[in-house]
């Protein structure tokens, strides 16, 4: 097989298109690069959707956590504590068993109604793992936004008061933009490590349906097959360095926009702060 044929056969293997059998026997470099790149689609999918959906829940959590009313504050505090205080790996396992067991219990209890069409997607990685990642990143970003919300300068709020702004208008025009500006460097790191965390999905209970896995899943497949870790894992590394650079570029652009009204010396630079395995 020429390299172009390999690309045609395996470029979308992780989504279930193309060649059904994974390469075996003499594995070429081209096959490794193609298939691992194909798996990267899943990492990007999990990362993008979890990040996008998580942003809104995170803002809500941050606002709830800084609420003076305990009825609103306590649930947000507990949510953030549970998801930040426990390993993501355990959360995946727990969610998987919960999503598999509960439907079974309901089915056996009711006997008549078959709800498997509704509950089956939840036990699959594309939805079940996405939910876990979404909740997890919401908790981490929520804590970041909460910290930023608390450090909105007092003068800004007093100025808003002086202009007669209150409630929603004050939040939308003064508090929220400043919160985003302050939180953005830390949020960039969170985004980077969310993409890294997506590699855990297929190692944590959620099965790779018909061997449709992510980049690391295929890398491990090749490492097991060839017994040579020095090729597949560096390929994964290069792919993820590229993803990281793209994330930094995009978030850096947003950061510049958020800071565009400030004099150059007061702008916040994006700095690397590890917030790694969760």
């Amino acid at each position: 097989m020429s390299c172009w044929e390999t690309v045609q056969a395996y470029a979308f293997r992780s989504l279930g298109y193309g060649e059904r059998l994974l390469p075996r026997g003499d594995i070429t470099l081209c096959e490794q690069i193609t298939l691992i790149g194909s798996g990267l689609i899943w990492n990007v999918y999990f990362g993008l959707f979890a990040l996008f959906l998580g942003f809104f829940l995170a803002v809500a959590l941050a606002v709830a956590k800084s609420s003076p009313r305990a009825v609103i504050r306590k649930p947000a505090e507990w949510f953030i504590f549970v998801f930040r205080g426990s390993p993501l790996f355990i959360q995946f396992f727990l969610a998987y068993f919960a999503l598999v067991n509960l439907p079974e219990e309901i089915t056996t209890a009711s006997r008549v109604i078959d709800i498997s069409w509704l509950t089956d997607p939840f036990a699959r990685a594309w939805l079940g793992a996405l939910i876990v990642l979404f909740l997890n990143t919401s908790a981490y970003s929520g804590e970041i936004f909460y910290g930023a919300l608390r450090s909105v300068p007092k003068g800004d709020l007093e100025a808003a008061d002086a202009y007669g702004m209150t409630g929603w208008r004050r939040f939308r025009r003064i508090v929220f933009p400043t919160t985003m500006r302050l939180a953005w460097p830390a949020y960039t790191n969170e985004a980077i490590f969310l993409f890294h965390a997506t590699t855990l999905v297929y190692f944590s209970g959620f099965p790779a349906f018909r061997q449709q896995g992510d980049a690391l899943y295929y890398a491990q497949y090749f490492a097991d097959r060839t017994f040579n870790p020095f090729v597949p894992y560096p390929i994964v590394a290069v792919y993820f360095v590229i993803v990281t650079l793209i994330v930094i570029t995009v978030f850096g652009m947003i950061n510049r926009r958020l800071n565009r009204h400030l004099p150059a010396a007061r702008r916040q630079r994006v700095r690397y702060r590890p917030n790694l395995i969760r």
């Binding site: 355990i90 919960a98 870790p229 994964v236 993820f240 990281t244 590890p274 395995i277």
Partner: protein
Amino acid sequence: MFEYCSDPSSLETTRWFACYLTNGVHMRFYSSFLTVLSLLAITAPVALAFGFLGAMASRSHLLPLRALGKLYTSMVRGVPDIAFFLFFVIALDQALEWVNHQIQCPDWDEPIRQGANFVVCQAAKIPLSSAPQWMHEVYNYFIAVFTFSIVFGAFAANVLFGAMQSVPHAQIETAEAYGMTRRQSFWRILVPQMWIYALPGLSNLWMILIKATPLLFLLGVEDIVYWARELGGSRTSQFAYPHGDWRLWYFLGLLVFYLCFTKVSEVVLGRITRRLSHGQATMGGEAQRKAAA
């Protein structure tokens, strides 16, 4: 454990659970918590030492040493750490066997990599294939500990390098004005002062390390995740203690364990930070001074 446990099928619920939770495999489950704790106890200082060496190397005046240090500190930035875990476990194993092979069988003329196989002579296998099972387990465990130390050493190097840069430069200049050599000013001035700047990063790292311990499971060690999966799986009536699929409850137990562990660590680290900030020219120290005044 208890004498009434001899026939579990006849017991009522409380006693059944008392027997079930104290049977042999559960004892191994509980001792695997010690495995996790011992991993933390070994990894934390070793990783700190690696990190210190890495940070020192990246401040070095020798170009190759500095390049090596920079490479080590930046290797974890762009790449998922799980990739490193999976990579190092095999790579370390093969590296050890290769070195041992060169020593033990110098006159071996076949290539070591034969297609998809990695072949070393029988005497170079680590541990020897005739070794008892526990030797294999101990070997796996130490490979895992070493892998953790390398990866977390890189994180620690990042933190410590930043901390060394944060010590006010005037301090070093003053030391040099007193005629101290580079080495003296490093050990007597920089190192004692850097810890307060490193502490927030190191506390964060400790929390991350705690939360990384379930990954031992991926490295082939029989840790708490392994046992929770084993014990939770459903047991038919052939077994002494038949039950359904209880993995959900076992993992819930692990979740609670980790939540308690991180909470306790958070409180302890908060206390240490407060103590170390005392009298420091940092924001925390300043806040303490104002509160006292």
